[in-house]
Every structure is written in C-alpha cells, then in structure tokens.
C-alpha cells in the first residue's frame, strides 16, 4: 500500500443535475475524498445527500463537471480515457442489482461482462467459476439454473458475481443489502468482507444500516447536501455523541446501549462500537 498513490482520489468535485433548466439541482459541492488501496469505506448520508452521484463518478458513468476524479492513476475527467479500461478497474453494483439480470441461465449472465471484454472462452469460464464461488454460488450446481427461478438473495449474488467477473480492483456497492432477508443480508456482508480482507479489493459501499457500517467499514464518510461533513474511523464517529447529534447520524444498537449506560452515570468507553467490545465493556461494569 503506497500512501502517496491512493486508489481513489477525488478533488473539489462538483456536479449539477439538469444544468440550464429550471429544475437544476446541485448534487455535489466541492467534494474531496481519498481511498487507499485495500481500504473499506462506508459512505453514509440521507437521501439526496449526493452519495449516488459521487459513486457514479468512480466508473465514469458521470464525468466530472468540475474538479477531478482519479482512479488508480486513470483520470476520469480526461475525455480521451478509454472508459472500458476504467470500468474494468471499478466494479459498480447498483441498488437492487437483481433487476439487471437478463440472460436465461445464471452462468451466461455472469459471463456477460467478460464476454464483452472480448476474453477467450476458457478465460471467461475461469472467471465465471471464480466469481460465482466467491459470492457463494456453486459453479457446478448453479451455472445452468434459470435466472428467474432464483430467490431474491440468490439473484443479488448472481448480479454481484456479474460485476466481480470483470475482476475489478475497486468494488463500489450502493446499498448492497437493502431489501434482503436477515440471513441473506448476513451472508452477503460476510462475502463482501472476504472480498475486502482476502481478495484485497478496495471496497466502497453506501449504506443506511449502521450495524453494517460498524461491521464492515475501516472508515466512514458522511455526506449532507452534496458536501462531506465527516470523515473518520467508526470509532471516532460513533464515539462522539456531539457529532452524531449534530449530523443526525444513526448509531448501531451497541453504541446506543453504550450511550444509554453513560447517561445513567456509568463510566464507559462509547468508542467500543463492535458488539463484542460492547459486551466486554458491560462485563467490566458488572464485575466491578
């Protein structure tokens, strides 16, 4: 990991939607962000805070209107940039990605991206195998299943595999677990964690679920009205009640318990945001 060359570097990025019409709307306002290789960043913020606009810049779906976005040395504002090179580096998984499946069979759908890259059949097959196993779908068992007979959670995994088969360096996810049942949610989170920790992918995800943020993120980036208002580790952010109140940030259940205990006059470290840590803190109180 080189500190000087971040994987994602956003500088003074601004974006205005529907420019030149009465409906124009400033979605991003002088945003700055750096993400190091291998980091797992959570972007949080209320609806309309500019999260989606920001992440669409990462693979060039939106080009910078002003400011710059540089991904692993590729300058997204460069009109000459081969956009497909960029999109191979950055895999973007949209909200409800299961909507995007269109092939009859699971394997074919996962293979769409690699085929579009013009890879030889053997390589495509290898990648589909790799991507499917990575998201927890058995290649042998699932590749010939019809896409539309799958459950919601399985469809989402297929969609995720469809992006992973491009073998990106950065994985960007927009509310990856929204609308999933608790079990699929937990499994998907574990898959994403594996991708980040073992496959060394840089992961950037948008979420409204603070438990998820606490579990996964190395760093939390809070947006409001197109601006970045906070940027820090979960410990720094969840451990500071004033900041949380000021920016209307929800907290994981564990942090909520810690603050309640502190309000009751117990001496406790509110930075112990992980459930296990919270439990230890409470144990300490009981033993005292």
């Amino acid at each position: 990991m080189t500190q000087n060359n971040p994987m994602v570097s956003v500088k003074n990025l601004s974006h205005v939607y529907m420019q030149g019409t009465p409906l124009q709307h400033r979605a991003l306002d002088e945003v700055n962000l750096e993400v190091a290789e291998g980091e797992c960043l959570a972007i949080i913020g209320h609806t309309g805070s500019g999260k989606s606009t920001l992440i669409q810049h990462f693979n060039g779906l939106i080009r910078p209107q002003s400011g710059s976005v540089i991904i692993n040395g590729l300058d997204v504002s460069q009109p000459k940039l081969d956009i497909r090179t960029l999109r191979r580096q950055v895999g973007l998984v949209f909200q409800n990605p299961e909507d995007q499946l269109f092939e009859k069979l699971v394997g074919d759908d996962v293979a769409y991206g690699p085929f579009k890259m013009g890879l030889p059949l053997e390589e495509v097959r290898r990648r589909v195998h790799w991507a499917m196993e990575l998201v927890g779908l058995s290649f042998q068992e699932m590749k010939d299943r019809p896409t539309f007979a799958l459950s919601g959670g399985q469809k989402r995994k297929v969609a995720l595999a469809g992006v992973l088969s491009l073998q990106p360096k950065v994985l960007v996810l927009d509310e990856p677990t929204a609308g999933l049942d608790p079990r699929s949610r937990k499994e998907l989170l574990e898959r994403i964690r594996t991708l980040n920790r073992e496959e060394k992918l840089t992961v950037i995800f948008v979420s409204h679920n603070m438990e998820e943020v606490a579990q996964l993120a190395d760093r939390v980036y809070v947006m409001a009205n197109g601006k970045a208002v906070l940027d820090g580790t979960p410990r720094q952010i969840f451990g500071n009640q004033e900041l949380l109140r000021e920016h209307h940030i929800g907290t994981p259940e564990s942090v909520h318990i810690l603050y309640r205990l502190r309000e009751e006059g117990y001496e406790i470290d509110p930075g112990a945001y992980l459930p296990e840590e919270t439990a230890l803190e409470i144990l300490k109180l009981i033993k005292r």
Binding site: M18, R63, P97, D99, Q100, Y112, K116, L166
Partner: protein, 278 residues
C-alpha cells in the same frame, strides 16, 4: 458527455410548463374541444396560404400561453427524419394520384406535378402545425386536466357502451409511467454499462448487432414494468377500485364566457383556413 445517461431530460411528453397564462386557465374540456376543431381543420386544409395562416396562429398561441417557442421546436426535431422520408415517398409515388395541375416531370412511374408538390409541402406543414399545437396543449395543461377533459368530452359515448372511464384511466396511467420508466431505463443502462455493455457505438448499419446490444436493457425493463403493473393493481384494489363501478368526481369544471370564446375562436380560425382559396 456527462449527460449521456440523463434520459429524463429529453422527455417532453406530459411535460407541463406552468406559466399561469390565459390558455393555462381555460376549462380543459373546452380547450381540448378547441384543439380538436383546429386539428381537424389542419387535416382538411390543403392550401399553402391556409397552412401558413395556421402556422402563424400556432406561433401566436405560444406567445399567448407564455411558453418559449423553443419548446415547440424541440418537439419537431425528432420528427424531422420522418417528415423527410414521408416527403420523398409522396414526391416519388403520389404523382399518379395527385396528378392535377401542371406536370413538370414524367419519368417511368414518377410523375411530379404542381399538385404533388403541393401535397408534399402541405403535409410537411401539417406535421409542423400539429406538433406545435399539441405542444401548446400539453405544455399548458396538466395531464390530470387533460384526461379529465377527455373523459368528459367522450362522456356521451358511454351510451353506446364505450368504456370511457377505463379509456381515460389507461391514458392517465400510461402518461404517468413515462418518466418512471425513463428513470428505470437510465438505471438499467448505467448498470449494464458498469458490466461492460456499450450502447450506440457499433456502426449504424449493423442493425442486428445494435439490436442485440439493447437486450440487456429491454429484457430487465419489461420485467420491471410487469412488476410495477402488479404493484399498481394491488395498490388500486387496496383502495377499493372496482372497474366499471360508478364513481363521483373530485374535480368539477365550470365553463365561463372565456371558454366559449376560445371554442368560438378555434371555429373562426378553422373557417378562415378552409375558406382561403390558395
């Protein structure tokens, strides 16, 4: 370049521009009737001067309703190739039928006469007139008003068992979902582009390939549309919608002298248009 996926911006159907002008405030029933009269007149009128007159009236109506003319012109742009193709077809193949007047050229089956040229010019002008007129109508009337007006105007047809209400409902729903599906499509295009799809980069003559490029958008879009339709059915039934049941109305319209004047105006314009001999 940054606007390559901003589909919602390009959709003018159902776009309403509230400027609060006289035209906006007309009773939708009368407004609709007046427009129908004028469109009929345009369809019948086949003289140069009559159509020029209609064009002038249309442009004047933009200024009365305080709508910038470029909204009308942007409505014509997508129709231009169609108008041109139609004009060429008429010029080449209609000479035999519209063969009055002076014949300028006769070569095989191609006959070009003053009458066929008139036909070509007049139909192109009709197109422009109709697009202008309907732009003024949709830009100055909200879709709710429009469907209400239509439902009321078609009301008498209920006597011959024509499902007027259902018809109006279908149109309301169709218009309501245009922006929704545009957004869905935008999302789908972005999602597939993120997986390496590219749209509109193939050479234009490779129609099969370019059509195939659209499958990853069209198939999911159909899926989403069907799912939305089912949701809509449930939502309507949950609110006790029964097809064909008699229902009261929320919006009541009361015609004023202004509305009668507007209708009268459209009739006068039509008579003038049809009365002009050239």
């Amino acid at each position: 370049m940054s606007a390559e996926f901003e589909l919602t911006r390009n959709i003018t159907i159902g776009q309403y521009l509230p400027t609060g002008s006289v035209v906006h405030r007309l009773d939708p029933r009368f407004k609709l009737a007046a427009f129908v009269v004028m469109i009929l007149a345009i369809a019948i009128c086949n003289t140069y001067v009559g159509n020029l007159f209609a064009l002038a009236v249309c442009i004047w109506m933009f200024s009365v309703s305080k709508i910038p003319l470029h909204y009308g012109i942007s409505g014509i742009k997508p129709a231009v190739p169609f108008i041109i193709i139609l004009a060429i077809m008429q010029l080449l193949f209609y000479g035999e039928i519209a063969n009055g007047g002076t014949i300028y050229l006769k070569y095989g089956f191609i006959t070009i006469s003053s009458e066929s040229i008139r036909l070509v010019v007049v139909s192109a002008m009709r197109f422009v007139d109709v697009i202008f007129l309907s732009s003024v109508l949709t830009l100055s009337t909200s879709t709710t008003e429009l469907t209400h007006g239509m439902e009321r105007l078609l009301g008498p047809l209920e006597k011959v068992k024509f499902p007027v209400h259902a018809f109006a409902l279908i149109i309301t729903i169709a218009i309501r979902f245009v922006p929704t599906f545009a957004m869905e499509m935008e999302k789908m295009m972005k999602a597939q582009a993120s997986r390496g799809a590219d749209f509109g980069t193939g050479e234009w003559w490779r129609i099969v390939r370019r059509t195939k490029d659209m499958f990853p958008i069209i198939i999911p879009l159909f899926n989403v549309a069907l799912a939305r339709a089912e949701d809509l059915i449930l939502a309507m039934e949950a609110r006790c919608y029964v097809p064909g049941a008699s229902r009261t109305r929320f919006a009541h319209y009361k015609a004023s002298s202004k509305d009668y004047l507007a209708l009268l105006f459209s009739i006068v314009i039509s008579v003038i248009m049809l009365g002009i001999p050239f």
